[in-house]
């Protein structure tokens, strides 16, 4: 089963801080990591490959330093990696990103399965997976929390997370899945894969390499853009109610009524 796993390098939001004046993320001293949901997509890909053979190719679009995310993926056992890096890709929104990924996947050769994380913890749009499937004309199944391959891997029985619980879906290949963090427990890297990853030559593809039209990529291919970022201000007022418990309850009810909450 040939599988492409799309990953994104993101700042570790657990350690990230904001510059309130400028409204930007302070990137200095913040570690870059593989977007955590993508690790579950990768684990799903690796275990399907271990079960059925084939290969796992990891794909990412990003600045040159995103290569380290791909090396991390190779350390976990991915077979191949491709970095899409070109100044012309910069400031892409999800429309331009899915187009760029499509062109890259066409160059790699269409796999039977594409796996993405549910969403990226920085942008949080959750659009790239389904958007890419739409461009391919493939079905996409989002929020996947369980995968069972049947009929020798020709069909997948999927458990997907919905508001009320789970939905069981049957899918034939090819298909694109977005993987939820409850799907599996990502493995640890292995020494041998780590050695391979260190020495691996990771191809870097520009927009010319994948034959992407310049007006469909990067900022020029993006109908949406980030106007500004800011840290939402949380304002809370505190008021201590005085008096006996009965008086406090009366005062509280009066306040709640005044605010239209009850």
């Amino acid at each position: 089963m040939d599988i492409v796993v799309c990953i994104k390098q993101v700042p570790d939001t657990a350690t990230v801080r904001f510059d309130k004046e400028k409204g930007t993320i302070i990137r200095e001293g913040v570690q870059s990591i593989i977007n955590p949901p993508d690790l579950h997509a990768l684990e799903a890909g690796l275990s399907l490959r271990d079960q059925f053979g084939g290969k796992v190719t990891v794909l990412t679009m990003g600045p040159p330093q995103a290569e380290s995310a791909l090396r991390d993926a190779l350390s976990l056992g991915a077979d191949e990696a491709v970095l899409l890096s070109d100044r012309a890709f910069a400031a892409a929104d999800t429309l331009a990103t899915t187009y760029t990924l499509l062109k890259a996947i066409q160059k790699i050769g269409l796999p039977e399965l594409i796996l993405c994380g549910t969403h990226a913890i920085d942008g949080d749009t959750a659009q790239v997976g389904p958007g890419l499937a739409a461009r391919l004309g493939w079905p996409s199944i989002t929020q996947v929390a369980g995968i069972e391959a049947v009929e020798d891997g020709a069909k997948l029985l999927l458990k997907r997370l919905i508001d009320q619980g789970y939905e069981m879906v049957e899918a034939e290949l090819p298909v694109l899945l977005t993987c939820h963090k409850t799907l599996n427990t990502p493995r640890v890297p292995s020494l041998k894969a780590k050695m391979r990853a260190k020495k691996a030559q990771i191809p870097v593809w520009s927009h010319e390499d994948i034959g992407a039209e310049p007006d469909k990529i990067g900022i020029s291919g993006s109908p949406t853009w980030v106007d500004s970022t800011f840290v939402p201000a949380f304002e809370a007022k505190k008021e201590m109610l005085q008096g006996s418990p009965e008086e406090q309850v009366d005062a509280l009810i009066k306040r709640l009524k005044e605010s239209g909450l009850i």
Partner: protein, 388 residues
């Protein structure tokens, strides 16, 4: 602040990085539960296998990574930073595998090492008996040749990974009248007829590791399970321990480092008399001693492990020194870490009381530290006799 540079090569740095990640992400979150419930860490064994760690010391031709004593020490130090109990299970498989690696025939190596390297099967080492601990020559288990088989009778005590491991190196007497030269080493497999396990012992520390008796009741094994030559049992046991002991020292270093890290974190935040307790000289001096002794032990263990990897023949003295110094240090540092943290340190809510309990075994297993001193002392006597 500068750290000591031990000039690790790329591979060695990778081993440290990987084992540190495993300790942080996989071991530390579950260590308290494993300790409390005396639960064998099968999930972690799978992680170690996935990470290729069981094959670290096994040559590439048998499916391993081809590392030496030093690489093992680096891994053991980082894993023990997470939990000595879990790390004992890992180290025990190497202890059971070394005799096959060092003395096995090519056939025996091909048969057993790839499974040990892949972590498909755990190995164990069975030397100790109820009447033969430090005095290994007193072992009572016997092996008698019967046609195409060896028949083993007797019992082994306190065997790490007993019941969980599949491959056991067992030392038994083949010619009692020859004394220490009358012992031989055998490979016994779980499932061999007449081979069974006693109950899991309850222990002070390393409670996630399995420690059991082994029973050999007319245990019949094929002839080709003899390791090395008949009569080489003690040499095999001693060479195995020589190879493994620096690793126990490395575990002491990792454990002590973890205890000190906890103590310093605590001392920086615990306010007494209006200031963090780390501001008091009494605490600072304890921490200073801990940090210095840890670094000294690390330097000694690394230097000796690297020396062993150059292929020296007689490593008993150096190997014993690495184990002795680093594990006595670990006992002292973990005890002091509890002291720095006072009542908090004594409570199971904090990890240092477990670390102190775990430290004790390092001074006992793979030869008590008194035996290490004997080994060093006897070696000195021999060396100086030659010089005289």
């Amino acid at each position: 602040m500068a750290e000591v540079n031990y000039f690790l090569n790329e591979e060695q740095q990778m081993i440290v990085e990987l084992t540190r990640q495993i300790a942080r992400e996989k071991i530390i979150p579950v260590r308290a539960r494993l300790d409390e419930q005396e639960e064998f860490p099968w999930d972690l064994v799978k992680d170690f296998a996935q990470a290729d760690l069981f094959g670290l010391f096994i040559p590439e031709e048998f499916g391993g990574f081809g590392g030496g004593c030093f690489e093992m020490c680096l891994a053991l130090e980082q894993l023990a930073y997470g939990c000595v109990g879990v790390t004992t299970t890992y180290a025990a498989s190497a202890l059971g595998g070394y005799p096959i690696l060092l003395f096995g025939t090519d056939e025996q190596k091909k048969r057993y090492l790839p499974d040990i390297a892949a972590g498909k099967k755990l190995a164990a080492f069975g030397l100790t008996e109820s009447g033969a601990g430090s005095d290994a020559a007193a072992i009572q288990t016997t092996a008698v040749e019967e046609g195409d088989y060896w028949v083993l009778n007797g019992s082994k005590q306190w065997i790490t990974s007993g019941g969980e491991a599949e491959i056991y190196t067992i030392i038994a007497m083949t010619d009692r009248h020859k004394g220490p030269r009358g012992a031989s080493a055998f490979i016994v497999e779980k499932g061999d007829p007449g081979f069974s396990f006693g109950k899991k012992e309850k222990k002070m520390g390393i409670r996630s590791s399995s420690t059991t008796e082994l029973f050999l009741d007319n245990c019949k094994i094929p002839k080709d399970r003899l390791l090395g030559r008949r009569g080489m049992g003690f040499i095999i046991a001693m060479r195995t321990l020589d190879q493994a002991r620096p690793g126990i020292g490395a575990m002491g270093v990792g454990l002590a480092q973890a205890a000190m890290d906890e103590a310093i974190k605590f001392a920086r935040h615990r306010i007494q008399f209006g200031q963090p307790v780390i501001a008091f000289q009494a605490i600072q001096h304890m921490l200073a001693d801990m940090a210095t002794e840890i670094e000294a032990a690390r330097a000694l263990v690394y230097a000796i492990a690297r020396t062993i990897d150059t292929g020296i023949k007689d490593m008993a003295k150096l190997s014993a020194m690495a184990k002795l110094f680093a594990t006595d240090m670990a006992m002292k540092v973990t005890t002091d870490a509890v002291q720095v943290m006072g009542g908090h340190g004594y409570m199971a809510d904090y990890p240092v009381e477990k670390m102190m309990r775990d430290a004790k075994i390092l001074q006992i297993y793979e030869g008590t530290n008194q035996i290490q001193r004997n080994v060093i002392g006897q070696a000195l006597n021999k060396e100086y006799a030659k010089k005289a």
